[in-house]
């Protein structure tokens, strides 16, 4: 499973994308966040502001209770600020 980070989440995590193989008990996006946050202090920091980021599975925005089974790519990003 590929993980992508954007904007300040990328800066905090210190990585733009990474390949991971989460264990079977990682069922939802929130489970994945909790698991990723334990990878390093930087990861923990990237996910610390829990309410101000969103997630997408295979490029579709999802809620944090969405299941990750079968996902090829999960992306994390702050709210959009274009225009």
């Amino acid at each position: 499973m590929k993980i992508k980070y954007f904007a300040w989440m990328r800066q905090k995590a210190g990585v733009a994308e990474e390949d991971v193989t989460p264990p079977d008990d990682v069922r939802t996006v929130q489970d994945l966040i909790d698991w990723l946050a334990r990878r390093s202090p930087r990861h923990a920091e990237a996910f610390s502001e829990a309410k101000v980021f969103g997630a997408a599975i295979d490029q579709q925005v999802v809620k944090l209770d969405a299941p990750v089974a079968g996902a090829r790519e999960v992306a994390f990003f702050p709210p959009f600020t274009g225009g």
């Binding site: 954007f6 990003f77 709210p79 959009f80 600020t81 274009g82 225009g83």
Partner: protein, 156 residues
């Protein structure tokens, strides 16, 4: 009907001209141009001088989001033509960021569609702004006002 994501600047006059050329049904063109400001008012009181801004996007996904937003505008209004051009990369104050054009026989549809396009683009297309200020780099936070502006177009 087109969206473009590019590093380079765009030409407002040429884009406007190209949009309506050969379509004498069109009676109204409304355009929105967004520019980099030299001042960012955060949380209503704190003001930062902005030296430059860098726009990050999600290649492939941002284009698709813009195309979806444009298609939604065409479902809602009878438009003869539309265009979204959005830049990315580093931009300085006074530089153009985004162009939205909407053309229709009458002005109501063109005004509503143009405003819808920029309102939705701001909250539904993956872009992130990093500002260079005297106090260091700062990511722009989402504006509650932008969320409210986008919500007013939500259908019940």
């Amino acid at each position: 009907m087109a969206v473009r994501l590019q590093r380079e600047d765009f030409d407002v006059g040429a884009e406007t001209e190209a949009l309506v050329r050969g379509n004498p049904r069109i009676g109204a063109i409304v355009s929105f141009v967004g520019l980099v400001r030299d001042l960012h008012v955060r949380e209503g009181y704190h003001r930062d001088a902005v030296k430059a801004m860098t726009l990050e996007h999600w290649p492939g996904v941002t284009e698709k989001a813009l195309a979806d937003i444009e298609a939604e505008a065409h479902r809602r209004w009878l438009l003869d033509a539309s265009l979204i051009v959005h830049r990315y990369g580093r931009l300085e104050p006074g530089e153009r960021i985004v162009l939205v054009l909407a053309a229709s026989p009458h002005r109501d549809a063109a005004f509503d569609a143009c405003r819808f396009l920029i309102d939705w683009l701001k909250t539904k297309a993956p872009f992130w702004k990093l500002e260079e200020t005297p106090a260091g780099d700062a990511w722009v936070a989402a504006h509650a006002a932008d969320d409210a502006a986008a919500r007013k177009w939500e259908k019940d």
